[in-house]
């Protein structure tokens, strides 16, 4: 354009000159997470409203595998730990550690997804399809939406990891990593709720 960069605009981009002194991207992302609460809230409501309303089996207690899902839950919790360690490393400029922990986070996310794939195909073999009964429909749509969120998170983390390998991610991108982390932890807390509401309270 016909106008040059001014210091003011650069300052706004880094959150120093904003009215609330907060980073705009981070604020938008927290608003997004708030919005996601209503998305998952509606899905969980649907699951609970239809709980016990299935006309035919299989019913939850016949298929849900608690030991296996406990492992998945543990896996996702550990990925959250890896994520905060990745962020801390990037913030202090330790990109060597940052790369490792970003990769570990993504890897644990992938393990979770493989677990979900195994779980879904196992359920289908046991006779619980998407359209078998209301339990099947609500279960697959709720956990599937969560799984889709994990998938997006894994792709996002791998993108950051590749950027880091190419030397294009540094402490100046700490905000980007922090926002990725917010997303990842949010996906984790949603799973904490799903694990309790769907798996443990049968």
């Amino acid at each position: 354009m016909a106008y040059n960069t001014s210091e003011h605009a650069a300052a706004v981009a880094h959150g120093h000159a904003t009215s609330m002194g907060l980073e705009s991207r981070k604020m938008a992302f927290w608003a997004f997470i708030g919005s996601e609460c209503l998305l998952f809230g509606s899905l969980i409501s649907t699951y609970l409203v239809y709980k016990g309303h299935s006309l035919t089996g299989p019913y939850p207690h016949e298929v849900l595998n608690i030991p296996f899902t406990s492992f998945s839950t543990f896996d996702l919790l550990m990925s959250s730990l890896a994520m905060v360690l990745a962020l801390a490393a990037v913030q202090r400029g330790d990109m060597k550690q940052g790369k490792i922990w970003l990769f570990v986070t993504a890897l644990l996310g992938l393990i979770f997804l493989f677990g979900q794939y195994w779980e879904f195909s196992h359920f289908v073999r046991e006779g619980l399809g998407l359209t078998t009964n209301l339990f099947g429909s609500t279960f697959y749509v709720l956990t599937g939406t969560h799984g889709a969120h994990v998938t997006v998170g894994v792709i996002w983390l791998l993108t950051l990891w590749v950027q880091a390998l190419r030397g294009k991610l540094g402490p100046q991108n700490a905000l980007t990593v922090e926002i990725t982390g917010l997303y990842w932890h949010f996906v984790d807390v949603v799973w904490i709720v799903i694990f309790t509401v769907v798996y443990l309270i049968q």
Binding site: M1, Y3, T5, S24, A31, S35, L43, L130, S137
Partner: protein, 597 residues
């Protein structure tokens, strides 16, 4: 041309929103006129078939709510909000462009159903949505709606929801984070405040309709039974999810108009807004209560006495903050030096008509009385008094008020007053008799009625009114286009407004403010008892101002969404995947493109 396709300038995006939404408004109006023409005669009317009639009223409602009123408000959010808060643009200019393109393409997608029949092997040209604008289950199930009609509706609304959500995050951050120095929250102009509240409603309500539409999509595309009783599903759950979105949506439609009126009345009364803080807080209370009343749309579904009483109570409560606002507007007028410009007339019309709509609304709050009114023309009367008498009159007030700022040209006051009086007479002729035809037992959404019902005269009066509204809108349209060949140049501040948008030229330069002003009070441009007006801004920027360049990626990313929808509706997985690929590539290029803010 390229500069419009790639623009990230909030003012250009505002104008794009305005013209797109205005054209959809004309389309929705045309649908209404055909509906009313059909009903001018009982026993078969003018021969519009029941199927066509279903499509017309469904598309009229859907178009007006999602493609006309919301985006017309969005046109003002885009154009005016950054100016009112003293910013150079919104917080995320490319996301803003993305919202616009998604809205345009989503609107075109839904309306494409009018001519898509042959592609689906239908025996008629139009396969437009036909299950009503709130698409009640199980009318929308594959069993009762086998064609692509409802698929167009649900996929289109899903696309439009993405546009609204993206804009919601953008404007929340813009208003909170991009304010000029000294522009504290309680110095924000009321329109900006109402916009902020509206966006909070958008980001909380739209995820709920997203879920409802996803479940409906699974029912229709993959054979689940979320809303199908044969499989144990409960159609009432659809109503809950829809109205949990739908009632906040009502306030998403009305709060921006209330904000506009709260700008127009003080300017043309030459008085500060009476009880500014109370107006702001009652807006917050309306939004909060707006989330707690959804089931009053569902009294007739048999919720039981406890739920009925709770929702009746919360609904009556919401009349309090609304009434507070009305008293504050009247208080603003009291003792003011009134100037009856067209904008002011529309704002006054808003108050009067909205009171009528509000009163019939309170009569719905009483569950026993609502049972008599449900699904009759009485409800149609109510919704049109609040959405036409409220939102549209408010938006017209805003159009006359801000058109000079947006284009640098004044609208004709003579034509404007013709437009106003035709609209007022037309809308009361059209909608007032509906109270009577409704209470006499005329159901809404019926393509014809029996001459024995005794509602023929009321319907004929309504039809005459609808045609007057149509005529009035044409007068307005002529007034708009006339400014192109008969320009009357507008000054910086033609109405002597008090807020920051009037401190800069009309239309504003691309960078908006030569220097970012420092704000010391709520009425920076006015001389009041307590303060003098702020110093005029320099005519030239003291230093070069950075303006972000355009970007293709918001538009390209947006194109992926209707491609996915086309793939879904035609059951072609490869097309869905191509659409998804466009979205993914678009997002990556967007994220890694050098774009300086």
């Amino acid at each position: 041309m390229k500069s419009w396709l790639t623009t990230t300038d909030h003012k250009r995006i505002g104008l794009l929103y305005f013209w797109t939404a205005f054209i959809f408004f004309l389309v929705g109006g045309l649908e209404a006129v055909i509906i009313r023409a059909q009903l001018i005669k009982p026993d078969g009317g003018l021969g519009v078939s029941a199927e066509t009639f279903n499509q017309l009223f469904t598309m009229h409602g859907t178009t007006m709510v999602f493609l006309a009123l919301m985006p017309l408000s969005a046109a003002f959010f885009n154009f005016i909000i950054p100016l009112q808060i003293g910013a150079r643009d919104v917080a995320f200019p490319r996301l803003n462009a993305f919202s616009y393109w998604v809205f345009l393409l989503g609107g075109l997608f839904i309306n494409a159903s009018f001519i898509a029949g042959p592609l689906f092997g239908a025996d008629r040209l139009s396969v437009a949505p036909d299950a009503g604008w709130f698409g009640y289950a199980n009318l929308t199930s594959r069993q009762f709606s086998p064609g692509p009609n409802v698929d167009f509706w649900l996929l289109g609304l899903q696309i439009l929801g993405i546009a609204s959500l993206a804009a919601g995050f953008n404007f929340i951050v813009t208003i909170l984070n991009m304010r000029a120095p000294g522009m504290r929250m309680l110095r924000l102009p009321p329109f900006t405040w109402m916009t902020l509240i509206t966006q909070f409603l958008v980001i909380t309500a739209f995820p709920v309709i997203t879920v409802a539409l996803v479940l409906l999509m699974f029912d229709r595309f993959f054979g689940t039974h979320f809303f199908v009783p044969q499989g144990g599903g409960d159609p009432i759950l659809w109503q809950h999810l829809f109205w949990m979105f739908g009632h906040p949506e009502v306030y998403i439609l009305i709060l921006p108009a209330m904000g506009i009126v709260s700008e127009v009345l003080p300017t043309f009364s030459r008085k500060p807004l009476f009880g500014y803080t109370v107006v702001v807080y009652s807006g917050v209370v309306i939004a909060f209560l707006g989330w707690s009343v959804w089931s009053h749309h569902m009294f007739s579904s048999g919720l039981g006495p406890i739920a009925d009483s709770v929702f009746a109570g919360t609904t009556m409560l919401i009349a309090i903050p609304t009434g507070v606002k009305i008293f504050n507007w009247i208080g603003t007028l009291w003792g003011g030096q009134l100037r009856f410009t067209t904008s002011m007339l529309f704002a006054l019309g808003f108050i009067a008509m909205f009171i009528i709509g509000g009163l019939s609304g309170v009569s719905h709050a009483s569950a026993p009385s609502d049972l008599q009114q449900t699904d009759t023309y009485y409800v149609v009367a109510h919704i049109h008094y609040v959405l036409f008498g409220g939102t549209i009159l408010g938006l017209f007030a805003g159009m006359y008020y801000w058109w000079p700022k947006m284009t640098g040209r004044m609208l004709s006051e003579g034509l404007g007053k013709t437009h106003f009086w035709l609209t007022m007479i037309g809308m009361n002729l059209a909608f007032f008799p509906m109270h009577f035809s409704g209470l006499l037992g005329m159901p809404r959404r019926i393509y014809t009625y029996s001459s024995g019902l005794g509602v023929t005269t009321f319907n004929q009066v309504s039809t005459v009114g609808a045609f007057l509204i149509g005529l009035a809108t044409l007068v307005f349209f002529y007034n708009l286009v006339r400014t192109r060949w008969r320009p009357i140049t507008a000054s910086n501040n033609p109405w002597e407004g008090a807020t920051l948008e009037w401190a800069i030229p009309s239309p504003p330069p691309v960078y908006n403010f030569t220097i970012i002003p420092t704000v010391a009070n709520r009425l920076p441009l006015w001389h009041t008892e307590r303060h003098a007006p702020m110093d005029p801004l320099p005519l030239q920027p003291p230093a070069p101002i950075h303006v972000p360049g355009g970007s293709w990626w918001p538009m390209i990313t947006a194109f992926g969404l209707p491609i996915m929808a086309i793939g879904a509706i035609s059951r072609t997985l490869p097309v869905v995947l191509i659409g998804a690929l466009v979205v993914i590539v678009g997002i990556y290029r967007w994220a890694f493109e050098p774009f300086e803010m």
